[in-house]
């Protein structure tokens, strides 16, 4: 298991977990979010590392 911070909160994840698996775990539609890891935008196949700080950015606005 690895520990990552998601929007400031620690979360345990299986080692070799990706952003795609994280999105599924969080119940998020990948069309509505972006993932910024340690300050850098990352694609869905990015493999999360122990200690990564992840910002989940919602992209949907009210119009």
């Amino acid at each position: 298991m690895i520990t990552v911070k998601i929007n400031g909160e620690e979360r345990q994840m299986p080692a070799k977990g990706t952003i795609r698996t994280l999105a599924v775990d969080l119940g998020l539609n990948p069309e509505t979010v972006l993932f910024v890891v340690n300050g850098v935008l990352q694609p869905e196949d990015y493999r999360l590392q122990d200690g990564d700080e992840v910002e989940v950015v919602s992209v949907v606005s009210g119009g």
């Binding site: 069309e31 694609p43 119009g63």
Partner: protein, 317 residues
């Protein structure tokens, strides 16, 4: 995941286009898509002066960035609605002004609290109207004022593919044919009102947010407090669920509509035909001079925001 163009590490996968791109080529992709929409819908050309409506959000600031990078002559304006919840308007204004300054773009500010002593929330409470309907009327009016003050040929807003597709979805759900006749991303200049365009219609919200992040644009990350739970968001949610199953659906939905809009316009020709100025029911508002079709010659903005002046005019008549 590697960039389809150069093989460097990708930062985003665009499933609708079946490509992954690195920061450099993603920025190029977004700017090209915008240029393509401008050309496809004949929005404006390099000689035009464009007034960009900036809100401090991702879409409008990205639009300002893209248009300046593409070499267009651009000015900006910000409408301060005076929304106090979570310092929403204050923060939005700071972000909008800071970005305009960074880009070297002139930015006019129209502040409701400064002009009328109250913001949209207080005005809505006092009038028992919903903040969103009041906001829509107020913004439409001030956009026309900004275009006049900036001597701009065109007003550009940051509406994106998701906004347009959601509006289309909503209008179809109601079979509101009069609205379906006017959902084109270009509204021609008419009766003293400026041309209005939406250059981001080929780009999804996700692509625009990613562009803002990659370009280091500091935008307001939270939403207008009034949009929470709005029906519009429900339409977006459903469209994104379909998009997730079938990438490219939103684009096909909206672009197909713009190709078929004439079918609705046949039913409502008055929504799209350019009328002669002589036939126009428009006349200058007796208070502010902006065009209005109202019978008493007072525009809806003045009727709401300038009641004392309305009383004075009515008293003189």
């Amino acid at each position: 995941m590697k960039c389809r163009i150069c093989g460097k590490p990708a930062v985003i996968k665009l499933r609708a286009h079946n490509i992954a791109l690195c920061p450099e080529h993603f920025v190029e992709f977004v700017q090209k898509q915008t240029a393509k929409a401008i050309k496809h819908y004949r929005m404006f050309d390099k000689d035009d002066h464009i007034a960009v409506a900036v809100s401090g959000g991702k879409d409008s600031l990205a639009l300002l960035d893209i248009l300046t990078e593409l070499g267009y002559k651009v000015s900006a304006f910000y409408i301060d609605l005076g929304i106090k919840h979570m310092d929403y308007s204050k923060t939005s204004k700071e972000k909008a002004q800071a970005f305009c300054e960074k880009k070297g773009v002139k930015c006019l500010v129209y502040s409701l609290p400064e002009m009328f002593g109250m913001g949209i929330d207080e005005a809505a409470r006092k009038s028992r109207r919903t903040p969103c309907s009041l906001c829509g009327m107020t913004k439409r009016y001030l956009m026309n004022v900004a275009a006049r003050d900036l001597e701009a040929d065109v007003v550009a807003t940051g509406h994106n593919l998701d906004d347009q597709a959601a509006a289309l979805f909503a209008n179809l759900m109601r079979w509101d044919v009069s609205y379906l006749a006017k959902g084109y991303p270009v509204l021609p200049a008419e009766h003293g009102f400026p041309k209005k365009v939406k250059p981001l219609v080929f780009l999804t919200e996700r692509e625009i947010a990613a562009y803002a992040i990659v370009r280091g644009i500091d935008y307001v990350r939270y939403e207008c407090p009034h949009s929470e739970g709005a029906r519009f968001l429900v339409y977006k949610e459903h469209l994104n669920a379909i998009e997730n199953m079938s990438p490219g659906t939103k684009r096909r939905f909206y672009q197909g509509y713009t190709e078929n809009i004439w079918r609705f316009q046949i039913e409502f020709p008055e929504q799209c035909e350019k009328k002669d100025e002589e036939e126009s029911p428009m006349k200058p508002c007796k208070i502010c001079g902006m065009p209005t079709a109202s019978e008493d010659g007072i525009c809806s903005f003045c009727r709401f925001w300038r009641p004392e002046e309305v009383k004075k005019i009515k008293g003189q008549e």
